[in-house]
Symmetry: C2
Subunit: 208 residues, 2 copies
């Protein structure tokens, strides 16, 4: 796993320490909290210039601000969410967008019984107005919570309006259609199958 | 990324081909569909004994059944879901458990307005009865959709009743508390921060 994949986890732990009012932490203490090794922590932080002086521990405030800066959480991206079914609703209400570098500007669905509803202070709009919306509102990112079969058509509208960044909960590998997009996939079924594999693999090993 | 992490994705693609009635596929065709290289596909399949004869392509039915077998999707694990808020509701209604090697046997919450509701044919039970439920029902896996601060107490009940497998949507790294558990984390905020990083990293590179 690359250091980039580990940075959000560092950020979560360090944010908690900051909230608790803790000022300094050694690589050893942080490593113990996160079940990493101290040398792994030092090596990761060295990738970004060090974040501090060895032997004195790291300043929590400095770590927090520098990782926030590296992750780009201070430069807010505008996102639209497509699909306000159970998953879309969960995302819209559960995720702290502004703390993660995003603002959610609009939600779209094609279900007449959902259109017009208010979700987290945002009105659900008719997906047939998506193209019109994107013409007059700058959006960099789309969150896809739509059924697999709806992805090609919806993504074509998004792509044609310049959207290149996708947080994808649909079971469709969008990178197959477009070469120049940034895709962050959350494939829940893949995650569940991986869990299934790991359980069975452990059971098999215990049998032998 | 290990081949194990790629297997669920192979399984998804191959299941779709099977549903379309396709009988054979070459490593080259499969690689093109999945944006991998043919040698990557062959190398992955060789890890598990090959799945077929080179030059003749792979049998879709055989691939499907062998990957299903390796993932252990045929041996059904019994799971309980803790937390029927937006995220828990989305998981309960959105995820095809039986196709992914699991059966969802019960849902628990502490909110009086949710307890007693029917979600995907399952009644939401009072979490205060969790211990009682686990005494009389064999459960191998827990799905955690509860707030961070509730995790230590709830996980202690689950662990004390022998549950060692967790699908974790809570922003809490449970492996810090227990050494002998299997954890599959879905940290949505980490995923969103990774997307944020990748967008900003691309923007920085385009500036330079």
């Amino acid at each position: 796993m690359s250091v980039i994949r580990r940075l959000p986890r560092y950020y979560r732990f360090i944010s908690e320490l900051k909230n608790k009012g803790i000022k300094r932490i050694s690589s050893k203490e942080l490593a113990e909290m996160m079940k990493l090794t101290a040398s792994q922590v030092r090596q990761d932080f060295n990738c970004f210039g060090g974040f501090g002086q060895q032997g004195y521990g790291y300043s929590i405030d400095q770590l927090h601000d520098e990782i926030e800066n590296i992750l780009g959480l201070d430069k807010i991206q505008t996102a639209v969410l497509i699909g306000a079914g159970n998953m879309g609703m969960a995302i819209a209400t559960h995720v702290k967008f502004t703390k993660r570098g995003f603002t959610l500007s609009a939600i779209f669905d094609n279900d007449k019984s959902i259109i017009g509803k208010n979700v987290s202070g945002i009105e659900v709009l008719d997906v047939s107005t998506l193209s019109y919306y994107l013409k007059s509102n700058p959006v960099s990112t789309a969150i896809l919570c739509i059924p697999q079969e709806a992805v090609p058509e919806v993504s074509q509208v998004l792509y044609s309006h310049g959207i290149r960044n996708f947080w994808n909960f649909s079971h469709y590998d969008l990178e197959i259609l477009y070469d120049d997009i940034i895709m962050e996939n959350v494939h829940l079924s893949d995650s569940l199958m991986t869990l299934c594999y790991r359980i069975n693999d452990k059971n098999e090993k215990q049998k032998n």
